[in-house]
Symmetry: C2
Subunit: 222 residues, 2 copies
DNA sequence: ATATGTGAATTGATTCACAGCG
DNA sequence: CGCTGTGAATCAATTCACATAT
């Protein structure tokens, strides 16, 4: 069951594991900011709200990064996680759909702070074309393909209305982009090899609604 | 393995199932809008991008809603899902943290459209207090407890900076709110009985980054 | 004839216990 | 002696096959 070598070319990693690696990386950033240099799987687990077994198993998919009897070096484990997650260089992202949310995302400083470079913004509305947000000038959707070639655009933040989502996804995929964050509250289809991650706060609201409603129904536990 | 009765007071439902029910509900809304009256688990599965087995198993946790040989009635299955998810009445929500994102959410028409009533907004910054967004006047955080009592506030959309997230969550929980959407890119702790749903587009970006990076590493499959 | 509902089988993820190394 | 790394065991979720109802 061993994977890859020192390069960590792993397959069949549970997506839950990838999600937790992102959390571990955040915890490590926090520890580093507080001047902590070494960390055990126990401490890491506490901060990430998972079990220490889970931390060690998650890391084991990719290699062995700790020292027995000692733990992990914060800075080096952080580096390994960044390497595993593909965060060793900035990714070039664009926003498609410059409504309220698209504009807010363009102006959000967290994007560059976390090493994602906003290189373009697009809309179908001619009135929005030419406007400037977050350091880029809005272009017309028709220029998407050109932008991929010119700017090396890799990931799109899709912030169009629900009804326009699938068509916009098709255009984005046709332009050669293989990573999409879908902010629209709908399921979209993409071909193999393209990754869509939903960012769906209405669905999150409904999960909370289910929890509160269900808790009220059960009241006393079985 | 049977659960509850006609009332559907189910326990131990996989959270993945709850997530899919939300998707099914969306698909049903779409079908209803197109005038479709009956639907099979097969069609529902196609539109939701899952298997028909999965659809039937998910529904079976809560009861039996179809007719053998025929399928499901769109409007009645929709009603059942809304009942299961606790969406038969509007939930009273407030926004905590009226920065750019908080303001954008307050003005977002989707909230009321999907039956969530924005009843209040809060910030610690005195300069923001008194401003009007999305039909509510921003109040100071100190009034949170009073708002829960007065307005029956049930769910908070937490849009404060990362560093303020845990303290804000503590205040929200102390005020008696048991449902929180956490938009800050950090893990927060809450007591038993309180539900926090992360809405974390930076984490989603990193999942996409992992996928693209990993796909590039593997290149040719197995 | 057709499509649901569900026990059984399978697959996958998490937990555990301890071997192995510093 | 402490803490990581990992095969084995447990637990959970998904898939399947088919009995069942219309």
């Amino acid at each position: 069951m061993q994977r890859g070598g020192a390069r960590g070319t792993a397959r069949d990693i549970p997506s839950a594991t990838v999600g937790r690696l992102i959390t571990y990386l955040r915890v490590l950033n926090g520890l580093e900011a507080r001047g902590v240099e070494r960390v055990s799987s126990d401490l890491l687990a506490d901060e990430a709200h998972v079990s220490a077994f889970q931390v060690r198993k998650d890391l084991a998919y990719f290699g062995t990064f700790g020292t027995r009897g000692t733990g992990y070096t914060v800075s080096s484990l952080k580096g390994e996680l960044k390497r595993i997650l593909g965060l060793t260089r900035p990714w070039r992202v664009a926003i498609v759909g410059m409504g309220r949310l698209g504009q807010a995302l363009a102006d959000y400083p967290g994007l560059s702070e976390y090493d994602f470079d906003l290189v373009a913004a697009f809309d179908v509305d001619e009135r929005k074309v030419g406007q400037r947000h977050g350091g880029v000038v809005v272009r017309h959707m028709g220029e998407l393909g050109a932008a991929v070639a010119e700017l090396g655009l890799e990931i799109v933040l899709l912030t169009v209305p629900v009804g326009a989502a699938q068509a916009a996804v098709d255009a984005v995929v046709a332009a050669g982009v293989r990573g999409i964050l879908n902010f629209a509250p709908t399921v979209v289809s993409v071909p193999e090899g393209v990754k869509v991650e939903p960012v769906d706060f209405l669905a999150a609201l409904k999960r909370v609604s289910y929890f509160l409603h269900e808790g009220a129904l059960v009241e006393d536990r079985g």
